[in-house]
């Protein structure tokens, strides 16, 4: 070892130390603490009673939890593909150096800086059947207003639309960044190669954006499996649980029914679910890459 090797290594640790400490205390420790609590009957005041896998067994048999899982999947499946496609379409349309494009980029991104409370309020004004924007428009056309927030078949789409509008900014920016990385001369080569617009998009643009698409889908899947604020504020999970996602279920169990052990068990299940989905996506992607 070189002279001063130990000192240098300590110096390195000194730099990462503060972050590592926070990371361990705020994430790793609670993770394991949570696993521990999930095997107990526990409340928020520290009462603990060992119940083994009882909480997990209850969850697997709980129809409310099942419903929230299904709602979460529905929302994720509605939001992620639509969000990806819309964000890509916007990025393609706005990937130019004009002033108008810059203004629209700002406009579409602006929703991302709003808090979920504001976003939900805005969409409440739009969707509410009494005097909402959509309702007024429908009435002007002589049609009945649609009860977006009270019809069990419409609450999930309403939540999906709200979420897409709110979250469109980041994926759009990621796609724009991806598009800027594509060298202009390969588009010129494609023009000389007689590629039409669709062929150019499918054979040149899309393959060049592959990594960005993967990134957006993985990030959004992980995010939407944990959807919460919009559901709580827009519909409160109702009517009759038709729009209750898993995180809202966890929240209600923990802070409504004070069953901390049961809630954490559900949280651990969600954690495993997110981890599994992300790993499967990662595996599917890297496997294809090594095949190529």
């Amino acid at each position: 070892m070189r002279q001063g090797g130990l000192a240098r290594r300590l110096e390195g640790f000194a730099f990462v130390g503060p972050f590592l400490l926070l990371y361990v205390f705020l994430l790793i420790y609670p993770l394991f603490l949570g696993i521990g609590i999930s095997f107990h009957r526990a409340d928020l005041f520290g009462a603990r009673q060992w119940v083994g896998f009882d909480n997990y067994a209850r969850l697997l048999a709980d129809p409310v939890f099942h419903q929230s899982l299904i709602n979460t999947f529905k929302l994720t499946l509605l939001i992620v593909p639509a969000l990806t496609i819309v964000a890509l379409a916007l990025a393609l349309a706005l990937n130019r150096a004009t002033r108008t494009a810059a203004v629209f980029r700002g406009l579409f991104f602006s929703s991302s800086v709003l808090s979920v409370t504001i976003v939900t309020l805005i969409w409440r004004f739009i969707l509410t059947p009494d005097a909402g924007l959509v309702a007024e428009a429908m009435q002007a056309l002589g049609k009945e207003p649609v009860p977006f927030l009270s019809d069990p078949n419409l609450t999930i789409p309403a939540l999906a639309i709200t979420t897409i509008w709110w979250s469109i900014g980041l994926p759009m920016m990621l796609f724009l960044a991806g598009l800027q990385q594509i060298p202009g001369d390969i588009y010129e080569a494609a023009a000389l190669d007689r590629a039409g617009r669709w062929t150019t998009f499918r054979r040149v643009t899309l393959p060049s954006l592959r990594r960005t698409v993967i990134l957006v889908v993985m990030l959004q899947t992980a995010a939407q499996l944990q959807i919460f604020g919009q559901a709580q504020l827009l519909t409160a999970g109702g009517p009759s649980g038709s729009s209750r996602p898993v995180v809202l279920f966890i929240y209600e169990v923990a802070f409504g029914r004070w069953e901390l052990g049961y809630a954490i068990a559900a949280a651990e299940m969600l954690f495993l679910l997110v981890l599994a989905v992300t790993l499967i996506q990662y595996w599917a992607v890297t496997r294809r890459e090594t095949e190529q």
């Binding site: 060298p183 001369d185 390969i186 010129e188 080569a189 494609a190 023009a191 000389l192 190669d193 007689r194 590629a195 039409g196 062929t199 054979r203 040149v204 393959p207 060049s208 592959r210």
Partner: protein
């Protein structure tokens, strides 16, 4: 049949004129180099021919068909880009096949053309690799292959050698020269490197300041430059342009006096010359002698020994820098005072607006 014809092509970006009435006619299978400094408009002209830029006026005609309003893919031209512009996610084979598939060429025909091109360019072993796994030289070959398989009527090469290292550049230059003999099409190459233009092209189009300055065979450009720009741009090291004054006299040929007082008898006809002139002398026409033995004396500032010859950069008493050539075994050193003997038989005269007047060949 004529290959490419340009009629009065004009192009401006906003208020900035970049091409000002460019006209040119190429013969079948001719190799033409557009030579000029950056900003001369040569790349813009190439892109107008390719269809990547629209001219503001004028016509582009290829083998009798007007093409300047057609999309790039319908023009029967193929282009090799400066940075190759290969599709990074496609294999070499797919890169070459892409344009042919879009043109609905039958599959077996595509295979045949790719195999031919790969054989000529010696990239058969790399057909299934991606561009990212290849060296610059190999990518260059793929880019050329992608152009060849299209069987175009005109090849457009945009600075094709500029991204290669010196050794590879010389080799690729030879290969390009051989390649053009195999293809049944005209070739335009844009370059700022006169050695490339001189060695490869049948004719050179020298461009500067938005216009064609001269069109001619390489040696013609070198020995009979149309104006002072062409004279100083072509030839390395550059020609010396020395201010000179026409002396009155009776002879058919002009006699001039340089600022140093030295008088030079040229073989340029006296008619049409007047006022301020510049005498153009190539280094090979400026020999080193003992001080006082030549036309002028000069102080040596830099000596470049190239082996077979020595280039001597010297300064005249009036401050003008000149480049002379001496034999390889020259003993001249920096700081020496030497004599310069002007071989005036090949000297050119340029008048105030730069127009050249050439020496008449000795009878």
């Amino acid at each position: 049949m004529a290959s490419l014809e340009l009629h009065d092509v004009r192009k401006a970006y906003g208020d900035t004129l970049v091409l000002d009435g460019v006209s040119l006619a190429m013969e079948a299978r001719e190799f033409v180099a557009f030579l000029g400094p950056s900003g001369s408009g040569k790349s813009t002209l190439l892109r107008i021919i390719a269809g990547l830029e629209m001219p503001d006026g004028g016509e582009v005609v290829l083998e009798g068909r007007r093409i300047d309003r057609l999309p790039p893919g319908d023009r029967d031209v193929a282009m090799v880009f400066q940075h190759y512009a290969l599709y990074p996610h496609m294999s070499v084979r797919e890169n070459m096949a892409f344009g042919l598939r879009n043109a609905r060429v039958p599959g077996d025909e595509i295979e045949r053309r790719i195999a031919d091109a790969a054989r000529i360019l010696e990239i058969e072993a790399q057909l299934d690799r991606k561009p990212g796994q290849m060296s610059g030289g190999q990518r260059q070959r793929v880019a050329i292959g992608r152009a060849i398989v299209k069987h175009p009527k005109l090849f457009l090469l945009d600075e094709p050698l500029s991204n290669l290292d010196a050794a590879l550049r010389t080799r690729t230059r030879v290969e390009l020269a051989q390649l053009r003999l195999r293809v049944d099409a005209a070739v335009i190459m844009v370059t700022h490197d006169q050695a490339e233009a001189m060695t490869l092209a049948d004719r050179i189009v020298v461009m500067n300041d938005r216009r064609i300055q001269q069109v001619g065979a390489p040696m013609e450009i070198y020995s009979r430059p149309a104006n002072a720009f062409v004279a100083s741009f072509v030839g390395s090291p550059a020609i010396t342009l020395a201010p000179a004054e026409l002396l009155p006299g009776e002879g058919a040929f002009a006699r001039v006096r340089l600022a140093s007082g030295a008088e030079v008898e040229t073989r340029v006809r006296r008619e049409g010359l007047n006022g301020d002139l510049r005498l153009g002398i190539r280094p090979e026409n400026l020999a080193i002698t003992a001080p006082g033995a030549g036309n002028i004396d000069a102080k040596v500032e830099l000596v470049e020994r190239l082996g077979d010859r020595t280039l001597v950069y010297a300064r005249l008493p009036q401050g003008l820098q000149v480049t002379a050539q001496d034999e390889g075994s020259s003993r001249v050193r920096v700081g020496d005072t030497v004599g310069l003997r002007i071989d005036s038989a090949d000297a050119h005269l340029f008048d105030a607006d730069g127009t050249a007047h050439h020496a008449e060949p000795a009878a």
